[in-house]
Symmetry: C2
Subunit: 210 residues, 2 copies
């Protein structure tokens, strides 16, 4: 998946305020890259600081701990990814079930652009959740919940549209979509190919009650 | 998933040979536990050695490197898990598709026994494959391939049995089963419940062409 660029303000705000804002955004961006590629345990704060050019002592000026840094990185990824999902899944110019294909195509392109080295930050952290601070677990569950709600909304639109049976349990199907999706992203990283993502979507769409 | 106990020989073989054998087996067993719970990057050799009570210098008496240790641990897990799969999927006293449920029930019990802290070693390592020595990638792909062949064999038995359409592509379905399974194991760890495993099996069986 691609990583959002940090927002840069136009004009010239007060020097110190701007530096604080930019450095914090760059630390979060660098953290996103590292955590998405390597996970939390093997992402040393040192590497992240080095990339951004921030001395180690300054890190605690921006974040109370590695834990709160991780939580801000997760929140940033969630916002970014939620906007991406909305852009596809709420697009009323496209038939509801076709919107899912648009999202999958975007994810395929994002993974290919990064040579299949970057998976899903939330999936990575979920995999190592037992060695993370305990607060991360609920945050990750909530992020999946919000993504699932978005897919469930798209499936409900498909019911309105007449392309999905009214009897389908959209919330349960959306959970099934994301559980399988994380397996597919992990396999795509392993085999360095987008084939597992296509395969997951094809099976998911093929199994929906028409 | 549960981890195999190291085999202990009966009787009294020569002291040094026995110690070598036992210590190596215990190191592999301890490695299996650590890697299944924490992954490779965060599993320090130190912790594994400490648990087995082996001084650090002795490690290289048993294994050429952390890499070759990891490869032996993977091979051990593959053998253990392959035997487990065979025990369920080749059991001719049970209808072919019901054999899959037997395997899933075993996995659910294994995850619950370890408080949902241990996932699938191969899935964990697949997730962090880009930070592992490059030789691990093909080894992990091959392990998934061998598990997929076993499920494909079970699906072919279901075709013979008349409970699966002759038109079904058993190899492709088996790959789909494992890709989703790894997502389900990861989610089960996150939510500390076997519900995702049941959900995956129900959707998989429900989507098969009858």
């Amino acid at each position: 998946m691609s990583i959002p660029e940090p927002k840069r303000r136009r004009g010239r705000p007060p020097k110190i305020a701007r530096e604080n804002h930019d450095t914090k955004a760059e630390l979060i961006r660098s953290g996103l890259e590292h955590l998405t590629e390597y996970g939390f345990a093997s992402s040393g704060i040192d590497q992240i600081l080095k990339k951004v050019g921030v001395p180690k002592g300054s890190f605690y000026h921006y974040f109370a701990s590695k834990e709160s840094f991780g939580q801000e990185v997760i929140a940033c990824y969630d916002q970014y990814f939620g906007r991406k999902l909305d852009a596809y899944l709420l697009d009323e110019t496209v038939a509801p079930l076709v919107r899912l294909s648009g999202f999958v195509d975007d994810a395929k392109a994002g993974m290919a652009r990064h040579s299949f080295k970057r998976g899903c930050l939330i999936g990575n952290l979920g995999q190592e959740v037992d060695s993370l601070p305990e607060g991360f677990r609920q945050q990750l569950v909530d992020v999946f919940g919000s993504w699932q709600q978005r897919v469930a909304g798209c499936l409900k639109a498909a019911q309105e549209h007449g392309s999905l049976s009214r009897d389908a349990d959209c919330d349960e199907l959306a959970e099934h979509f994301w559980i399988g999706w994380e397996g597919a992203v992990s396999r795509a990283k392993l085999v360095q190919s987008s084939r597992p993502l296509d395969q997951h979507l094809r099976h998911f769409l093929g199994s929906l009650p028409g």
